[in-house]
């Protein structure tokens, strides 16, 4: 952590991500207005002191909706990355450590998954699972498994033939102990930067899926959902789309800079 803090990108990323996270956390408890409360007399208002980002076609406060939407997007992305990471760690760790036939089979399956455009595969999975927030988490989570498994596998395979692993074996450490207590701590730095990249992909995927209408369902906001609602009023209320887009950009920029800062070590 200390050596990362010297990196300008990392510090900038930490700042942006920190602010975004604070806003999201506050948004869970309190927003200036009820994000779903409509008001017939306050439709499509311009940004002002009372409504920071203006209001939408139902008179709902866009600032409140963006905060809540960012929270929903963040949670979906985090959960999807967590699923991909945990299963990817297990599959990648075992295949990298043991190799052999199981390794060949699992890696060919992951080749197959990676060969399809991810958004297409996610749509197919949604078609099977049905629409909704939780299904999107599962679909994206499964999609992220191969990329994490690959990174973990190649790192574990690299570490497997080092003297410290031989030494651990000589001490009588079990294979699981070697894999999880001796090798895994050494791949954390590589993993951290790929988690940040994976998180960005998850945010973008959630946004595109919800934009296409298969993710978060109305009236609940999410950044993708808000963009799709905003596009109908691009000319009457351009601030709607701009403010939502800005939130997506900040979320991604923050994590992008973090991963950049960690990768440059």
């Amino acid at each position: 952590m200390k050596q990362y803090l010297k990196d300008k990108n990392f510090r900038a990323g930490l700042l942006i991500t920190g602010i975004m996270l604070c806003v999201i956390l506050i948004g869970l408890l309190w927003t200036p207005y009820d994000p779903n409360a409509m008001s017939g007399s306050e439709k499509l208002l311009k940004p002002s002191a009372t409504h920071l980002f203006g209001t939408d076609n139902f008179g709902r406060d866009i600032f409140s909706r963006v905060i809540q939407g960012a929270g929903a997007t963040f949670l979906i992305a985090a959960a999807a990355v967590a699923i991909g990471l945990v299963i990817g760690l297990i599959i990648g760790g075992l295949t990298g450590y043991y190799g052999g036939v199981l390794d060949e089979i699992l890696m060919r399956i992951s080749d197959t998954i990676l060969a399809f455009p991810s958004i297409l595969l996610a749509l197919v999975m949604i078609a099977i699972l049905g629409k909704g927030k939780y299904n999107i988490i599962i679909a994206l989570g499964i999609l992220f498994i191969p990329s994490f498994a690959r990174i973990v596998r190649s790192e574990v395979a690299k570490q497997k033939n080092t003297d410290y692993v031989r030494n651990a074996r000589l001490m009588g450490a079990s294979n699981m102990r070697i894999l999880f207590l001796h090798i895994m701590p050494n791949i954390v730095p590589v993993l951290l930067s790929s988690v940040a990249i994976g998180f960005n992909n998850a945010v973008l995927s959630e946004a595109s899926m919800s934009y296409l209408g298969v993710g978060v369902q109305p009236p609940d906001p999410s950044l993708g959902r808000l963009l799709s609602e905003a596009q109908g009023y691009l000319f009457q209320a351009p601030w709607y789309a701009i403010c939502t887009g800005l939130a997506i950009i900040l979320l991604i920029l923050g994590f992008g800079l973090l991963s950049e800062g960690m990768g440059g070590e």
Binding site: E104, T162, D163, Y164, R166, N167, A168, R169, L170, M171, G172, A173, R177, H182, P185, N186, V188
Partner: protein, 246 residues
Amino acid sequence: MSDRVLEVNNLSVVYQDSTVFGKKSNFQALTDVSFHIDHGEIVGLVGESGCGKSTLSKAILGMLDDAKVTGEIRHYTKRPQMVFQDPHGSLNPARTVGWILEEPLRIFGKYDAPERKRRVLDMMTRVGLDHELVTHKPRELSGGQKQRVSIATALIQRPRFVVADEPVSALDVSIQGQILQLLLNLRDELDLSYLFITHDLNLCYSICDRVLVMYKGQIVEQGPVDEVYEHPQHEYTKALLDAVLK
């Protein structure tokens, strides 16, 4: 009277390169190697790079996964250990010195936490490491300190027999003497026997009791150091000694 710590008979090792399409390309790394090590001895293993020294040391300790090993390896002691050549590689870079030293004790599971801590500090004193280094990572240590940690990791398991695979060749010349002296002192204190692998014939002469000369995967000559150095029998040994003496 002299009890054995290790006996190796007719050991052969063949590396096999297997591909998806079946096995091919074999490499005979060791051929019909036989020797023994007695209690309290330091046995030197000399030979040029690639002659099979490291393969032999790994075979003895059962660290060859991807090779076909035939012959007999009999250990008469429990938990034989190894001091590796390169201390940068043999210590886990993500862990602290304290964790690394405690790990073998955790694996045995015989001692409780305070007793393990006590033993770690005790061993650090023995190998001449400052106690405050327990919280440091290997990359924060000097080469000599790392090799001391690596020796301590091996010896904290109370082995009676240690394979030292060129334990000083990766270190600065100024440090080499200290580490060698440490290994010799520890042999007396902890009642150890060593198989000492080296390509330095002078070093071998000054610390070893017996010597094994290895050439192209075979032991071509073995015997007490004085005898072998003064009356070499095999052509390769003669050439090797000539090259050093001139």
